[in-house]
């Protein structure tokens, strides 16, 4: 075969194959020839390392790019994503309100705003923190809170993590007399007290029914009265928000029942304040109440200060005879404790928040005492009959007790302390970590100290949490002979009974019906 013919044939095959490659796919309306040329152009343009290894991915990319253009003829409807909404909200944090420049100097002096930047700086050395930008956003959010509420004191308490969202918590104190009572608290208490009257109604209805149902002999234990605002566990008001920039929500005050219930359950926070708490034993209230109860417990357990920073007010010591003094003041002579000493010994740290008693209060209240409040009078009288003896008052450790007296749980010391830096100990700070409430940290440097909690809001469980077992169900009725089922008689017993009955009847007949017709009697018998 001549060379020309061979060339010709080759050319012909090539043309045939090109035609094949140019065939459009029935599905995507693409053809291989164009695709390959695009792909190779892309390779030529980009010249990636080791092209052969990633050629498949590039081919896929080329196809994707083609499709994107004609994917849809519908006009784009930009959806407001969560990110954009939040950014809009947070933009307000960064806007400086105009007009009050004159007042600003005055504000600078007496603002209760804490220095969160400083806090962030020290916490970072301790290996704790939310990140610098986030801290600044929190700072601005706190500023927003301080501007909107009449506060004398405000502090970043910490952050509680939840499964769907997190809570930033601010600890505040209202200016004297400016605290509005919200209706929220009343409803919670009402619910607790409502239990008794409702029972009475039910009982009244029940009487009308002929077959009286047994009455419940259960008497609810007396409700421990709530501590007033500004005292005990309700000393401070807490505000929470989900993200800096979103509105701050005031948490309701906490009741002793909530605290005692919170001690028995172990639940994650969800991040929604109105979420119900499904648990056993049942928790009175929703997540906002649970959050507040945990905050109270964490505060009581982990808020500590260097020894000598606070001192008891002098004149008050004489008035109170019980020794449970609940107020203290800053010691102006406090000079600071050397950092190595603070990192070494736990006795240089003291608790400055009152211990919560078993009762759920900081100050013990005698429930057997007749309160002046006539609402609870009835309940208390009944109770007096039952338990006339005075219960022993619970006493917790007094305020400003050193940490070295804290109890160990399951062989775990309650605190770990260290210095923030081993390389430059001269400028290090003392860091204290709670092992009982993982996430609670305290630092101290010279005269400065701060507590923060960032965690799940759960106590260290030690060996593992054992859920409370449900109580035994109450007996439905008292068991007696009239409702006990008797055994069926056996055949012998039945026959014996029949025989005695017949004997009796025979005896009767003899005595009564001597003159009567026997036939009639026989009929009756049948």
């Amino acid at each position: 075969m001549s060379e020309g013919a061979l060339n010709n044939q080759r050319e012909h095959t090539a043309i045939c194959f090109k035609a094949f490659m140019l065939k459009n796919s029935t599905k995507s309306n693409l053809n291989l020839y164009d695709h390959l040329s695009r792909l190779l152009t892309k390779v030529m343009d980009e010249r990636p390392e080791n092209v052969v290894d990633i050629i498949e991915d590039m081919s896929r990319e080329v196809k994707q790019e083609l499709l994107q253009d004609k994917q849809s003829t519908l006009r784009d409807m930009p959806l407001a994503t969560a990110a954009q909404l939040l950014a809009e909200q947070q933009r307000l944090l960064f806007s400086r309100r105009g007009g009050d420049d004159g007042e600003q100097e005055e504000e600078l002096v007496e603002t209760p705003l804490p220095n969160v930047s400083e806090l962030g700086f020290f916490l970072e050395q301790a290996g704790v923190g939310l990140g610098r930008e986030e801290m600044l956003r929190v700072f601005l959010a706190l500023k927003q809170l301080v501007d909107s509420q009449p506060l004398v004191r405000c502090r970043l308490w910490g952050k509680i993590l939840g499964t769907e969202g997190n809570y930033l918590v601010a600890e505040c104190e209202y200016r004297e007399g400016e605290e509005e009572e919200e209706g929220n608290e009343e409803t919670v208490e009402d619910e607790e007290r409502d239990g008794e009257p409702r029972d009475d109604d039910e009982e009244a209805d029940v009487v009308e029914v002929i077959d009286t149902l047994p009455r419940s002999t259960f008497k609810p234990p007396p409700v421990v009265p709530k501590e007033e605002n500004r005292t005990g566990v309700n000393k401070f008001t807490y505000f929470v928000c989900r993200e800096p920039g979103l509105p701050w929500v005031k948490l309701p005050t906490v009741t002793p029942t909530q605290i005692t219930a919170a001690r028995h359950i172990r639940k994650f926070f969800t991040g929604r304040l109105d979420a119900p708490i499904i648990s056993y034993p049942p928790f009175p209230g929703n997540e906002a109440n649970y959050l507040r109860a945990q905050i109270a417990r964490i505060s009581a357990g982990t808020q500590v200060s260097p020894l000598g920073f606070y001192q008891f007010a002098e004149e008050e010591g004489e008035e109170e005879e019980e020794g449970a003094r609940d107020s203290f003041e800053e010691n102006s002579d406090f000079e600071g404790i050397p950092v190595p000493e603070m990192a070494e010994s736990l006795s240089t740290w003291v608790h400055h928040v009152q211990h919560i008693l078993q009762q759920g209060r900081c100050v013990w209240v005698n429930l057997a005492d007749k309160p002046e409040d006539d609402f609870e009078e009835e309940a208390d009288e009944e109770e007096k009959e039952e338990e006339p003896d005075e219960p022993d008052p619970e006493v917790g450790p007094p305020l400003l007790t050193p940490l070295s007296e804290d109890a160990e749980t399951t062989n775990t010391p309650p605190w770990s302390s260290k210095m923030s830096s081993t390389l430059i100990p001269q400028f290090a700070i003392a860091v204290l970590r709670s092992n009982l409430w993982p996430g609670a940290y305290t630092y101290a440097s010279g005269k400065k100290f701060e507590n923060i909690y960032i965690g799940w809001g759960l106590k260290f469980a030690g060996e593992g949490y054992i859920p409370t077992v449900p109580t035994m169900p109450q007996r439905e009725y008292p068991s007696g002979p009239e409702i006990t089922e008797s055994l069926d008689p056996s055949l012998e017993e039945e026959q014996a009974l029949k025989a005695t009955l017949e004997e009796q009847r025979a005896a009767q007949e003899e005595t009564e019906g001597l003159g009567e017709d026997e036939e009639e009697e026989e009929e009756e018998d049948v």
Binding site: I54, D57, E61, T81, A82, A83, L86, A87, Q90, E124, Q125, A126, G127, V128, G129, L130, G131, R132, E133, E134, K159, L161, G162, T163, E164, G165, N166, E243, R266, K267, F268, T410, N411, T412, P413, S416, K418, S420, S421, T422, L423, I424, R433, N435, P438, G439, I454, G455, W456, L458, A461, G462, E463, G464, Y465, P467
Partner: protein, 277 residues
């Protein structure tokens, strides 16, 4: 998380409260480079820290050829001097789970003691024998790191590919999940030998891409709700926290290949999880 992007990624996961101090970060950036050279690792990961009562362990992992199986764990107290952890074996895991309880102490030579009563013989001739098991904390650390990796290590789908030779490597063309995908747990995978994949039916397997879907997705974990997926930083970062191992945080920035996980916690498994949901 990769030691090269540590500075950037640590900031993204600090929403849970724990981070590293500047001193530790600086020390890590120096020592991990040396660690990589001395041990001939391809990549060095900063794995996290385990809080002990007296001291904290910092854990790093070196990766060789295979991203999933060729890993070596090392620990350090000061972020500078690293010590190799023994590889976790089945026997060691069993020993540790029997003996080690409570918090980590922070001393690798601390010994946990556990007496076990074993019966030998049958019936009346049974002889009770007390066996004392002693476990060093170093072993406990190794097995804890291994277990955490096995149970809760997280990677976004597509970040790693399995080559036809069975080697697991980073996917160069991974461009990140879209923000829609990043909101779903099914797009995040356990970075460990798959347990459930083999049991799937052919119908379920049909849609899987064998080079990408060679891992188990998080969405099939039991109990449901053992993960908390949230968007943070103004919804720009997808953060996944494990509720089974409190302290494990994984992050992924949607539409970028940035991803990683870190464990910062007390090294205790949250066995109470079923009660807490």
């Amino acid at each position: 998380m990769d030691s090269n992007t540590l500075y950037y990624s640590l900031d993204l996961v600090s929403g849970s409260g724990l981070t590293l101090s500047s001193e530790q970060k600086a020390a890590l950036q120096t020592s991990l480079v040396i660690l990589k050279r001395n041990n001939k690792f391809n990549r060095v990961l900063f794995w996290g820290k385990i809080l002990g009562i007296k001291g904290d362990y910092f854990i790093a992992q070196g990766v060789s050829e295979d991203e999933m199986t060729d890993k070596k764990s090392l620990y350090s107290f000061n972020c500078v001097d690293w010590h190799l952890l023994p590889p976790a074996t089945e026997a060691m895991l069993a020993e540790v789970s029997a003996a080690a309880k409570g918090r980590f102490v922070g001393d690798p030579s601390h010994e946990y003691e556990h007496t076990e009563i074993r019966r030998q013989g049958e019936g009346d001739e049974a002889v009770e024998e007390e066996i004392m098991i002693k476990v060093k904390e170093e072993k406990r650390l190794a097995s804890t790191v291994h277990t955490i990796d096995k149970e809760v290590s997280v990677v976004p789908r597509g970040a790693f590919i399995k080559s036809p030779h069975g080697l697991v490597q980073t996917n160069c063309s991974f461009e990140g999940l879209s923000s829609l995908e990043a909101g779903k747990l099914s797009y995040f995978l356990h970075f460990t030998e798959p347990q459930k994949l083999k049991k799937k039916s052919i119908l379920e397997m049909a849609n899987l891409n064998p080079s990408i879907d060679f891992l188990d997705p998080l969405s099939e974990d039991i109990p449901k709700g053992s993960w908390s997926l949230q968007f943070e930083r103004g919804s720009t970062v997808c953060v996944i926290r494990s509720l089974l191992w409190l302290g494990l945080i994984s992050f992924h920035v949607p539409m970028t290949p940035q991803h990683g996980y870190i464990y910062m916690g007390d090294g205790l498994k949250n066995l109470d999880l079923p009660f807490m949901l």
